[in-house]
């Protein structure tokens, strides 16, 4: 918005969020004919499905007296009825029925936000709807591709979404936070590269000729039982604005060509993360771990999901503590070190998008439209 704010978000502790963007509002299975409430980017939403299965996201406040529509019920092929005075709105947010009168006030509408189901999630667009192009939904094809399988969960995280993005853009912390599962000293000893373009940032780290940590040793044994040797381990972290991070992770028997592209002697998974801000200090963190081997095994699906759930539980504790420390120390700044390059590029991209929306540096209390 103003020139002197340029560059501010790279060290801002609490980042504002772009609105001209797709955010995951829910898992596909959560959105049903029974309306539900969820707040994304400070917008309370009533989510439900039409009779023919299309997801709908309306503002969760009736036009009339602001009663939450999510407490109401679906009516007809795409309507929702306010639980208080019975006013009915359709999927476009237009009133189709009012009590005690023969006509309908043409001004009676509630905001209807573009909603699209893709990659097992329901995505919503809260900004200028004329810019909402479903082709810009982040690519998470591994979520529902026949050659991939897996499952995940949602974390309701008590922190600003940027702190989660920071966490995922630098996995050095695994050594310290996740020592019993995926952490190992080689994480902070190995080199990494960072690249970026207009909408994405990639951080690549290879750890060659190391012994796998417990989580990866188990996974490798699911395909190569009894292998006790060294491995080459990789983490290729790819961020897509504003909050999706897909991490290509895996291990392969050492010196079998994985760094050069031959992963046939290893196991590969993608940690699919997408984070939607709820408020400036809370977030919905949707994740899944998808793999491309032993697709037949529900046991492995459950084991991996629960394994990652345990790991992310450790992150959750740290992130909540970090947010509290930030709040308790408003006069202290963030400083950056070498490992923050990925997170810094993310902040730079978000800052450019916020600047474009005229929302850089402030958390504006604004209306429904841009």
């Amino acid at each position: 918005m103003v020139a002197q704010n340029l560059g501010s978000t790279t060290t801002t502790k609490i980042t504002n969020y772009p609105l001209n963007a797709w955010y995951v509002a829910a898992w596909d299975y959560e959105v049903t004919r029974k309306p539900m409430s969820r707040t994304i980017a400070d917008r309370p939403l009533a989510l439900y499905r039409t009779e023919d299965g299309k997801p709908v996201a309306l503002a969760d406040a009736c036009w009339h007296r602001l009663a939450p529509l999510s407490m109401g019920k679906v009516v007809g092929k795409d309507g929702i009825q306010c639980p208080y005075h019975g006013i009915v709105f359709n999927a476009a947010g237009r009133c189709i029925s009012m009590p005690a009168q023969e006509t309908v006030n043409p001004s009676a509408t509630v905001p209807s936000f573009p909603a699209v189901q893709r990659h097992r999630y329901v995505w919503v667009w809260l900004g200028d709807p004329t810019l909402a192009d479903p082709d810009t939904i982040p690519n998470m094809f591994q979520m529902d591709h026949p050659e991939w399988t897996g499952d995940g969960r949602t974390i309701h995280a008590d922190c600003n979404y940027q702190l989660i993005v920071d966490n995922l853009m630098d996995l050095t912390h695994e050594e310290f936070v996740h020592g019993s599962s995926i952490g190992q000293a080689e994480l902070s000893e190995s080199d990494f590269t960072t690249t970026h373009d207009d909408t994405s940032v990639t951080v690549t780290r290879w750890m060659k000729g190391i012994y796998p940590p417990p989580f990866w040793k188990k996974n490798l044994h699911d395909v190569f039982p009894g292998y006790e040797g060294k491995v080459d381990r990789w983490q290729i972290i790819r961020f897509e604005a504003p909050g999706t991070i897909c991490i290509d992770v895996g291990v392969a028997k050492a010196d079998t060509g994985a760094p050069e592209g031959d992963r046939s002697q290893g196991v590969n998974a993608f940690v699919m993360n997408t984070i939607s801000p709820e408020s400036s200090k809370t977030s919905h963190y949707f994740w899944s771990i998808q793999r491309n081997y032993r697709l037949e095994s529900q046991t492995i699906t459950t084991q991996m999901r629960e394994g990652v759930h345990g790991v992310f539980g450790e992150d959750e504790v740290m992130l909540r503590a970090q947010q509290r420390a930030i709040d308790a120390n408003p006069d202290y700044e963030f400083y950056n070190i070498n490992i923050d390059a990925g997170g810094m590029w993310v902040r730079r991209l978000l800052e450019r998008q916020l600047l474009k929306e005229g929302r850089l540096g402030t958390k504006q209390e604004e209306g429904w439209t841009e």
């Binding site: 503002a59 036009w63 359709n90 476009a92 947010g93 237009r94 009133c95 189709i96 009168q101 023969e102 006509t103 309908v104 006030n105 043409p106 001004s107 509408t109 509630v110 905001p111 209807s112 573009p114 709807p129 004329t130 909402a132 209306g367 429904w368 439209t369 841009e370």
Partner: protein, 334 residues
């Protein structure tokens, strides 16, 4: 894009005035606190009519890229309530109180097909919608009707932007929108947005309601400014309160009753919400129902009136000359 109706007042400076057509001025206003005008939005402004500051609403036809400047098209209505005359007398450099853009006529993005109908000055409410539909590559037709070429504002500009998506209908060419055929050709994946004189809007609305199409896909905006008859002076009496008021051409019945000290309830003041309802005890004349709150059935009964917009006229023809004196209505207020 939903309704935004939180009024934020600001200063507007007239930076450009030009003749857009016969009796239509294009007026560009610079906002002191620029806000975005989504398609279908309007501003309210305060103008001086005979020494009294009155509030009027005008659609935002377009907005500059930096959001600062709003373009309005204002039609001079000699028989109106006086706002348009005052606006036509404004000059470059004049300052006036204006709201930031308000929205009661939002364009919904995502329909398969759109038909936009603009009648006369109603084009100002439709233009910005057409511009957005063009930009996002939507399937749309813009139908623009006016009396004559000379009465058609923004025609060249619209032709340049919309090309074959624009259809022009001129009364002088005896070329009219064939409403029944048009509506018969639509399905539930089409949204129709219309702004124009009440006769055009009413014709479209009647045929639409008779069709199988979904009511909510017909979108219209009315400021209640346009009626079936020219406005006349008329007398309103409230026997229970011993009140008699002469309603001038430039005022609504609601305004006149308020000015006379009657404690009136109202909200939208454009004939949509029904809160300013008065009940008719007796009527010497005819009601010019200008609201969209009552159904056709209720309007025919003439038992209730939305007094913020509806008026009384003397005769069937609406011509004051046909009558011996002003029309009179006796009412009960809430």
């Amino acid at each position: 894009m939903a309704a935004t109706n939180i009024e934020i007042w600001q200063q507007g400076e007239i930076i450009e005035i030009s003749q857009a057509a016969n009796d239509i001025k294009k007026i560009v206003i610079r906002q002191s606190n620029p806000a975005k005008a989504d398609p279908g939005s309007h501003i309210d402004l305060m103008v001086n009519v005979d020494g009294e500051m009155v509030r009027r609403s005008y659609s935002v036809a377009s907005q500059s890229e930096d959001l600062r400047d709003l373009t309005l098209g204002v039609f001079l209505v000699p028989n109106s309530r006086g706002g348009s005359i005052a606006v036509h007398e404004l000059a470059v450099g004049d300052q006036l109180d204006i709201t930031q853009p308000l929205q009661n006529f939002p364009l919904r993005v995502g329909a398969e097909r759109y038909v936009l109908i603009a009648g006369g000055i109603g084009v100002t409410a439709i233009m910005a919608m057409a511009a957005v539909l063009k930009r996002i590559g939507a399937n749309y037709t813009l139908m623009y009707a006016a009396r004559s070429k000379e009465a058609m504002a923004f025609r060249e500009e619209l032709q340049a932007i919309h090309g074959d998506n624009l259809q022009i209908f001129l009364d002088e060419d005896k070329n009219f929108i064939q409403i029944p055929e048009l509506i018969a050709s639509l399905d539930d994946n089409t949204e129709l947005y219309i702004c124009g004189p009440i006769r055009l809007m009413d014709a479209v609305r009647r045929i639409w309601l008779e069709s199988e199409l979904e009511n909510t896909n017909l979108r219209f905006e009315t400021f209640g400014a346009s009626g079936w008859y020219d406005p006349e002076e008329f007398i309103v009496r409230i026997p229970a309160k011993n009140v008699e008021v002469l309603v001038g051409k430039q005022h609504s019945m609601l305004e006149a009753l308020e000015a006379a000290g009657v404690d009136m309830l109202s909200d939208c003041r454009k004939g949509e919400c029904g809160l300013c309802e008065v009940r008719v005890l007796s009527l010497n004349g005819r009601v010019d129902h200008r609201d969209v709150f009552y159904s056709e059935r209720q309007k025919e009964q003439n038992e209730k009136i939305s007094c913020c917009v509806s008026r009384i006229v003397t005769s069937e023809s609406g011509l004051a000359a046909d009558a011996s004196g002003p029309a009179v209505v006796e009412i009960v207020t809430t």
